[in-house]
Symmetry: D2
Subunit: 220 residues, 4 copies
């Protein structure tokens, strides 16, 4: 029997940070079962050069029915369900492999943008009903998170069976902000209010599980 699992990916730490809630969420959900479907959680490298092959391999190996990719959005206060991925990489801060990108397409002849194929409005409603702050976002940025979303959508488009793909941005974990504030305190720079928002990891993890469940129900 060939079971198509739900895939949850989460980026590893980057930008000098020691942890990333995205990787922790993927690890926490790995091996669980949601709506009767096995969940596979996998870390993703924060490397533009590596991410394409990694995503292609995951799709081929796992043949998932649903993909929910997760990334950190520093300073964000709520769960952000991404609506669209752009065919664009533009980041001056190097990724973990030391690469920067300036206004470059991800895919030479690719469409300018691809819509997430997760049921984003139903996920937003389900999260709000569960008491979890969430909103739909119209920009996944131009760093690896967007690259992940666009790449999954492009490759899934060529798959034999439909795969619902999307991306969820999560806030810092409280512990990360506490560490930042401690460093700031020792070094004397003042952190502004909007950079220090966080969400309990349990809540972010629950949000991703709800997104998976909502997507599985819709794609049954």
């Amino acid at each position: 029997m060939n079971v198509h699992p739900a895939l949850v990916t989460g980026f590893v730490p980057y930008g000098g940070r020691r942890s990333n809630p995205a990787a922790e969420i993927a690890a926490a959900l790995d091996g669980t079962t949601i709506a009767g479907v096995p969940v596979v959680g996998r870390p993703l490298p924060v490397s533009l050069a590596e991410i394409g092959d990694r995503i292609a391999g995951l799709l081929e190996d796992l043949q998932p029915r649903v993909v929910v990719s997760v990334g950190l959005s520093p300073g964000e206060a709520v769960i952000r369900i991404e609506r669209v991925g752009l065919n664009l990489a533009d980041f001056g801060t190097a990724d973990n492999a030391g690469q920067v990108a300036l206004d470059e397409p991800l895919l030479g002849n690719g469409a300018a943008a691809r819509w997430a194929t997760l049921p984003i409005r139903k996920i937003e409603t389900a999260l709000l009903e569960a008491g979890i702050p969430a909103r739909i976002s119209n920009s996944a940025g131009t760093f690896l998170c967007n690259a992940c979303l666009y790449t999954f959508l492009s490759l899934a488009d060529e798959a034999r069976e439909p795969i619902a793909c999307g991306f969820i941005h999560v806030p810092y974990m409280p512990e990360q902000v506490a560490e930042m504030l401690g460093v700031v305190k020792r070094h004397g720079r003042q952190a502004s209010g909007s950079d220090v928002a966080s969400m309990a990891l349990a809540t972010s993890t629950q949000a991703v599980a709800i997104a998976v469940e909502t997507a599985l129900r819709e794609t049954r």
Copy 2:
């Protein structure tokens, strides 16, 4: 034997909101024991006319050793430990009794300001070490939270035995923000990023407990 308890006060809901994490924290800690000292948790009315008598009554009845008052700071992302209370009430939005105030002193001949007598730096350090985002704040605003802090400090100053008093602002609970976002969604206004920060009630409650514990250890 006369045991001087730790008092935790929390404001009731106001401004059209159905809940207030401050009141929930006070209720959650009521009846607990911290560092061997009984904790009394009490709600406070969001009414400038009533708060003075209420505070005087609590001090007289309970003769607390430590007072940690708690209030909601809408949009705030971290625990804020207040450093100072001003002799000022200035709010155009009516309190729960329908009162507004414009640039009015709280106490006719009172000092312009009073320093919180809690060990605020030690509390900040203890919170950050516990992984809870926190910072010292130099303004408790000019609404009921500041009035509470200034009034406790003024009345405690006249007490026979020293009372360490202070105020802690806490963020929204996630459920409050989820409800706001749902309302916004139905009514079509966009919430800005900085207004929707939240903190799990368990974390805010733990923060207040740590503040109480730190204060009790310092005032032994």
Copy 3:
């Protein structure tokens, strides 16, 4: 002789506001000459039902070489040069004709997104060199501003001669924020820091003129 002018469009007031810097910028630049090319400034209606015909009419009547559309971004602090328009209308706050839209495409079979065809990096550089705060933005929102950008790009794509099109978001005028703060003061709500940013109209107008000039030089 057929001169292809530069077209600057600016939205009229909306959302209960009495003015809109966008319309004022279009009016201010109308009739001027930039880099030897006549500039035509035109107001645009804040109406999803009307904007398509209006844009088609402007392109047909004027046959512009360059189009710089301008809109207000409430709370924005700097000039935002938009990179991309989405095939999407999603707004719960009614436009001036009373219409709302929920996750609707602008064009039934249109591409998910279209890249602005203005030289956005060169415009960003020219603005920063002129001392005007500016940045490239990856989301023009999902209201009329985005609809304007996407529609111009779609229709320009079918024109006989190339038309460089793009969109610039501008901050409030200081007078608008002063009026808001006065209303807030009388009604007692506190405005948060990030909602009250503004830019002098002369500076925003200069920014749009520089964008036009940069585009004209690039498309000569």
Copy 4:
């Protein structure tokens, strides 16, 4: 005849910045006449060790009737009229003399706080009526700006004739933000929206002139 002038002070550049709108405003107003009264504009050093003597000297030499001190508030979007100065210095980022301070009083036996003696509500009203975004602020921070305000108020309190003293925080100049954004662009860090607000120097200067005029009319 002994004419008591209006004194406008403005801090010099600090924190690695090459300019400070505060010093430029003081220089611009120096030698002007407002409401028939000569204005003296003077720079102030960003040094906790030097500022007390400097302020004492200015008060003794000039015997001003009104003092409006001006400082930069990085990221602030509007004119902020300070209500109160605290007897506190607390900054981990060194001042221009290399000094830091942790929770230190400015004046050993000084009052916890002193109210600004400028007519702050009338200034707020005058600014809003002039179309300049402005609000009253309840915290001047804990760096040199607050030290300046508290020190002027303390020393003025001992003067033979009444001196109306206060402090105004102004936003960045647009050119400063443009420079920051250019540096950010070259180095790849993303500036957040709330850090990049600015105000035209002409507007900030006009705001300070209106504050001086309002104070002079009130203290006639």
